[in-house]
């Protein structure tokens, strides 16, 4: 190969590498492009030193003074009214004023709940997919239109099931479908592509 072609190939590889790098830069959680005070991304949620115990590892920043109790352990009582610690971390920003409120169009829909399970979902109105409930094999059996999480492949990691890849102690949380660090480089920070509703159909047997 002559020198020019070698450079062209190297450049193409270099650009391809950048393009497919899976990370939080350039995602909706990349706050540096929105000119935060320090031009940083991670500091919004994490800090390397003096962190406080919280919803995630090295959460925020704590000084040496006394700290507040952060997110006392969620008393999950079978309804979706109590978001768990990781979902709460998402909801502390996505409260109706930031991005997530635009999902599903402009009309809040009382959803045609695909999960027609028993009182587990209660009569809680929501225009967002329910979270913080136990998605177990028993629920799948009762509902009849859900895949068994213990055996159905998640399609995210090789050999991974829904339960191993998407649930947190059998709980469905925001992080079941969204990866906060955009590790999978999908639009809307999803864990897998939702082309042809593939993500929805991972759990919902339609």
């Amino acid at each position: 190969m002559n020198a020019v072609r070698r450079w062209a190939v190297a450049l193409a590889i270099f650009l391809a590498a950048i393009g497919t790098r899976a990370d939080i830069s350039g995602s909706k959680h990349d706050f540096s492009t929105q000119t935060w005070a320090a031009g940083q991304i991670c500091i919004v949620c994490h800090t390397p030193h003096n962190a406080g115990a919280g919803a995630g590892p090295l959460w925020n920043h704590a000084s040496t003074a006394t700290t507040f109790t952060l997110y006392s352990s969620p008393t999950f009582n079978g309804t979706i009214a109590q978001p768990a610690a990781s979902t709460k971390a998402c909801l502390s920003c996505h409260d109706g004023t930031v991005a997530l409120d635009q999902y599903g169009g402009n009309t809040p829909q009382v959803p045609s709940l695909l999960l027609t399970g028993p009182a587990l979902l209660g009569t809680n109105l929501s225009d967002d997919h329910p979270v913080s409930f136990a998605y177990t094999s028993a629920l799948a059996t009762t509902d009849g239109e859900l895949h068994d999480p213990a055996t159905w492949p998640s399609g995210i990691r090789t050999g991974g099931t829904i339960r191993s890849d998407m649930l947190f102690a059998d709980q469905l949380e925001c992080a079941s479908c969204h990866d906060v660090h955009n590790s999978f480089s999908q639009p809307k920070l999803l864990v897998k592509s939702n082309a042809a509703s593939a993500l929805c159909l991972t759990c919902h047997a339609k």
Partner: protein, 367 residues
């Protein structure tokens, strides 16, 4: 009661109480148990902040989550009219007051929850047609009853008049976080353009934006101005979720100062949301991550914090808004512990959990 053989018109069997006695005593006995108190008692023991043995400054008076917390249909009316339909507050954010009513924006039910404390009613206000709310977040009510509701999905401030009829829109194509007003001006925070738009209230003409053009100091910059508050002098306070601080601007929009930074310790902010100013100029800022309300003096020095994380009966589960109020004290005074001298109220809305609206009383414990 004895049995009556058909056609005889006479009672047989054991002698029962005379009818007139029962007619009087029975309703009285039933009515005795029907005291209507707004909200549920938070717990048997009064909840004080700071907790004893410190001198109490704040007491959690009650929480309001459903219509059962506000009204109670007595035995007789239930018998005649049927059981009362239950309405709930699902995901509240903004709170405002007018007369004896509390207006709460419910973003999931896409409506305003109206609690009428004198009629003891909780109902949903869902304007239809052009005034339909899609995702109401915050509300402010003018002295004449005009309501300004920010709607982040509709991307405008919806105006309703005193009779709750649609009266136009304001700040279109902005993503309005909060709206506050004084006698002549409206302030609308724009989450898209990261500024606060100041309008003339009567003409609805935009006057200027905060921070002002030419303001170059990075400290004056706004990142996520989610909530606003005005003090008596017309100074504007902005709770900036993205910068983890509170900004103060004067009446002309010039930057004065900011305080706070990111952190979990008292005096710092993790997810600062609602902000309000009381008549002494003290600032109340509620934090959705640490789930407490912090009270600062006008210079930004922390005085006190109150509230308990975690929700349940103790309110504050992902809290969003804080509002100071004095006019509704008579409705809640009976809930104050005898050892606590109640001065005014602080309402806090929590987006999840069981105590959706926490009503706190600020005052002082008696020695």
């Amino acid at each position: 009661m004895g049995t009556c053989a058909p056609g005889t018109g006479k009672r047989r069997g054991p002698r029962a109480w005379p009818g007139w006695v029962l007619l009087i005593l029975l309703p009285l006995a039933l009515a005795a148990g029907c005291a209507t108190t707004p909200g549920q008692q938070a717990a048997r023991q009064p909840v004080f902040y700071p907790p004893p043995p410190e001198l109490a400054r704040v007491q959690l008076l009650t929480t309001i989550s459903t219509s059962a917390d506000v009204s109670h249909r007595g035995w007789f009316r239930t018998f005649i009219l049927g059981p009362e339909p239950s309405r709930a507050i699902v995901k509240p954010y903004g709170i405002a007051f007018w007369g004896d009513k509390i207006y709460i924006c419910d973003s999931v039910q896409a409506s305003l929850v109206v609690i009428d404390l004198s009629k003891k009613q909780l109902r949903l206000l869902q304007p239809t047609g052009a005034g339909r709310l899609v995702k109401p977040i915050n509300i402010s009510i003018d002295r004449d009853g005009t309501k300004y509701v920010t709607d982040t999905a509709r991307e405008a401030v919806v105006v309703l008049d005193a009779q709750d009829r649609y009266a136009g829109e304001l700040a279109r194509d902005a993503k309005p976080g909060d709206v506050v007003l004084d006698d002549t001006r409206l302030y609308v925070s724009d989450l898209k353009e990261r500024c606060v738009r100041v309008f003339d209230k009567s003409s609805r003409r935009e006057l200027f934006t905060v921070p002002r053009e030419g303001e170059s100091s990075p400290q004056a910059r706004l990142y996520s101005p989610v909530n606003l508050a005005l003090d008596r002098e017309g100074n504007l306070f902005v709770s900036d979720l993205g910068a983890f601080r509170v900004q103060k601007y004067d009446r002309e929009g010039r930057y004065v100062r900011s305080f706070g930074s990111q952190g979990l310790a008292p005096g710092l902010f993790a997810r600062p949301k609602g902000i309000d100013v009381d008549e002494n100029g003290l600032l109340y800022v509620v934090d959705a991550a640490t789930e407490v309300v912090q009270i600062f003096d006008p210079e930004g020095r922390l005085l006190l914090f109150f509230g308990q994380p975690g929700g349940g009966d103790f309110a504050l589960n992902l809290p969003a808004k804080v509002r100071v109020n004095r006019s509704l004290v008579p409705h809640f005074r009976h809930l104050a512990d005898p050892s606590f001298e109640l001065d005014f109220l602080v309402f806090v809305s929590s987006q999840y959990g069981e105590g959706k609206i926490g009503v706190f009383g600020v005052g002082q414990g008696r020695q």
